[in-house]
């Protein structure tokens, strides 16, 4: 029973982290017009920036840059800033590309960034990664209680991301990116500059994704380049599509459903050979659900709905 509880806690924690990235992606690609297949790029940049700022200096068997041992809140700001900066750099050449080209080039950028962490050992300690990273509030609680603390922290991060992305998507800025998604030419006649607006959106979503990267580091207590390959991007997209692209609730539910599908089978204890097959079948199951959802409920479990605003403003 205890094992199940710990396992469920770990799943909720991971789902909360996925949920944050899903909401950032939903802002870009669901509400806004940017089909970004490189979201893992900003996620990794955020994670690495956080680690390089907050970790202790590299020991002599390792090598990585900085290691300032700075407080975690500085790391949080650094994660969001570095990811936002990376997004800004990527946006410079890519935003003028047509939809499908944008999709592929962002995927390409994410791959380049991953190879960069893997190969530049002076910066990131290469494929060996950086281990034994601190978790927040670790000393204040008994080790047995810590998983719940971490879950609470991630859920708080999720709530903050929910509030921020919801505010953004219901604001005038949110309507301007939705207008670009729906009809770019008409949006221009409303005075919306497509490139400048998209760039702002891309940087904002990148910063949120980078912020989520920090929670991912907390969850894993280690960082290696292999965590940031394009699988993650496709997982987030799959989660968003299952939940309902364009819908805030869809992004949230999608992340939890995805983790349930993808990771709940991890709890089943089997031996050797079977475990390998089971890992593969887990992937197949996610694929099957994705196909079925797109076939029978292409708008997701919680489809985008009209944003009703007249309630309360009418003289009742």
């Amino acid at each position: 029973m205890d094992g199940l509880l710990i396992f469920a806690t770990s799943m909720v924690t991971l789902a909360a982290i996925y949920g944050m990235v899903c909401m950032a992606l939903n802002l870009e690609a669901g509400v806004g017009p940017l089909w970004d297949l490189g979201i893992v790029g900003c996620f990794g940049v955020g994670g690495y920036a956080y680690v390089l700022l907050t970790a202790d200096p590299a020991a002599d068997y390792q090598s990585y840059l900085f290691g300032f041992g700075l407080p975690m809140w500085v790391g949080a700001i650094g994660a969001a800033t570095a990811a936002g900066l990376a997004a800004w750099l990527i946006s410079l050449p890519t935003l003028r590309l047509r939809k499908e080209y944008f999709l592929i080039v962002t995927l390409a950028f994410a791959e380049v960034i991953r190879q960069f962490y893997a190969n530049e050992e002076w910066l990131t300690n290469g494929v060996a990664g950086i281990y034994g990273l601190d978790q927040p509030l670790k000393q204040q609680f008994a080790p047995g209680d810590y998983p719940y603390v971490l879950m609470a922290l991630c859920l708080a991060g999720l709530a903050a991301t929910w509030a921020l992305t919801r505010q953004l998507s219901k604001s005038p800025f949110g309507r301007s990116i939705k207008a670009l998604r729906e009809n770019e030419a008409l949006a221009i006649t409303a005075g919306i500059e497509p490139t400048a607006t998209s760039r702002r959106l891309y940087v904002t979503a990148g910063a949120i994704t980078g912020f989520a990267g920090m929670f991912f580091v907390w969850y894993n207590t280690l960082i290696v380049p292999g965590q940031f390959d394009s699988d993650f991007t496709f997982f987030i997209w799959a989660a968003l599509i299952i939940g309902g692209i364009g819908s805030q609730r869809g992004a949230l539910v999608g992340a939890f459903v995805f983790i349930l599908l993808h990771d709940s089978l991890r709890f089943v204890q089997v031996s050797g050979e079977m475990a390998v097959a089971l890992t593969s079948l887990r992937t197949a199951l996610v694929g099957l659900v994705l196909i079925l959802i797109l076939r029978f409920r292409p708008d997701g479990l919680f489809p985008e709905r009209p944003d009703r605003m007249t309630k309360g403003s009418r003289h009742a």
């Binding site: 089909w35 050449p93 003028r96 590309l97 047509r98 499908e100 080209y101 999709l103 592929i104 080039v105 995927l107 390409a108 950028f109 791959e111 380049v112 190879q115 960069f116 893997a118 190969n119 394009s230 699988d231 496709f234 997209w237 799959a238 599509i241 692209i245 050979e273 390998v276 097959a277 089971l278 890992t279 593969s280 079948l281 887990r282 992937t283 197949a284 199951l285 996610v286 694929g287 099957l288 659900v289 994705l290 196909i291 797109l294 076939r295 292409p298």
Partner: protein, 288 residues
């Protein structure tokens, strides 16, 4: 000299992998992410066939045919019914299909790295210098012949012309008595079979891992974008530009940056020509 041989070999495999993907982009109008798994399917089917004693050449052909049939089945079961729902739905259905194929192959074959059990061969000599191995030469020849064959098929045969007609304007093609359905099945067969063959070649040259499909689809996407989405001749040219670009680039950067180099090439090309290499000969973009 080595650079030219290596470039030629990687270009051949890239060409064979990408040309089918480009064909589907052209006719169906979406990025079929599952195409990478067609390579995996071909590679593992070929491996299984050689393991049960089928000689390599017929095993390769058979693996290609089986992969082609899988492609047709995928089209009929998954993509035809959702054609009206738009490119994003099709794209992510193909992602789902890629997961399913990858998962099923992984469950059967296991996660270990595997390789074809082939007798070791030495490079042949050309003018007294080491050249390619038998297998490598065969791969280059088959790839070039496939490209030539595809060109002749598309421009010279009735079926090829109907594929082009459907790609240009489905309604018009139907009005001219072409059945877009059977044309699409044909496209999926040809495209997937070529992908399957490329998978066998990749296995022959190196080894097979479950991640192969994902690694290759990224290179395929790069090649297709470089060529200009959906342009067959663009992709053919792009395979060579990319393969040689990588081989020459590797003189300057470490081998670990292989695919990063590919992406740097497409990023630079798209900065200069946002429509890819096809814009060198196609003047105005097609209007929608």
């Amino acid at each position: 000299m080595d650079i030219i041989y290596f470039g030629l070999i990687s270009a051949s495999v890239l060409l064979l992998s990408s040309v089918g993907f480009a064909l589907i982009v052209q006719v169906e109008g979406f990025l079929n992410i599952a195409h990478g798994q067609m390579l995996l399917m071909g590679g593992y089917t070929g491996l299984w066939l050689t393991n049960i004693g089928v000689p390599l050449a017929p095993a390769a052909v058979l693996a290609a045919v089986i992969t082609g049939l899988l492609g047709m089945a995928m089209y009929g079961l998954l993509f035809r019914p959702i054609k009206a729902k738009g490119a994003l739905v099709m794209l992510f259905t193909s992602v789902g299909a890629a997961y399913v194929i990858n998962g099923v192959i992984g469950a059967i074959a296991g996660a270990r790295m595997q390789g074809y059990d082939l007798p070791p061969v030495r490079a042949m000599l050309l003018f007294g210098e080491p050249f390619m191995t038998r297998y490598e030469l065969a791969i280059v020849i088959v790839a070039l012949l496939s490209a030539l064959g595809l060109h002749l098929f598309m421009s010279g045969t009735r079926s090829g012309k109907s594929i082009r007609a459907v790609a240009d304007n489905e309604a018009l093609a139907r009005a001219r008595g072409i059945d877009p359905r059977s044309t699409s099945y044909l496209v999926w067969f040809v495209a997937s079979a070529l992908g399957g063959l490329a998978g066998v070649f990749l296995g022959v040259m190196g080894s097979l891992t479950l991640a192969m499909g994902w690694q290759q689809i990224i290179l395929i996407l790069a090649t297709t974008v470089l060529g200009g989405l959906g342009s067959l001749y663009g992709v053919m040219l792009a395979s060579f530009v990319l393969a040689f670009g990588i081989e020459f680039g590797l003189l300057a950067v470490q081998p670990a940056y292989r695919s990063a180099l590919a992406f740097s090439i497409i990023i630079i090309v798209l900065l200069i020509r946002p429509q890819g290499l096809q814009s060198l000969w196609v003047r105005a973009a097609r209007t929608h």
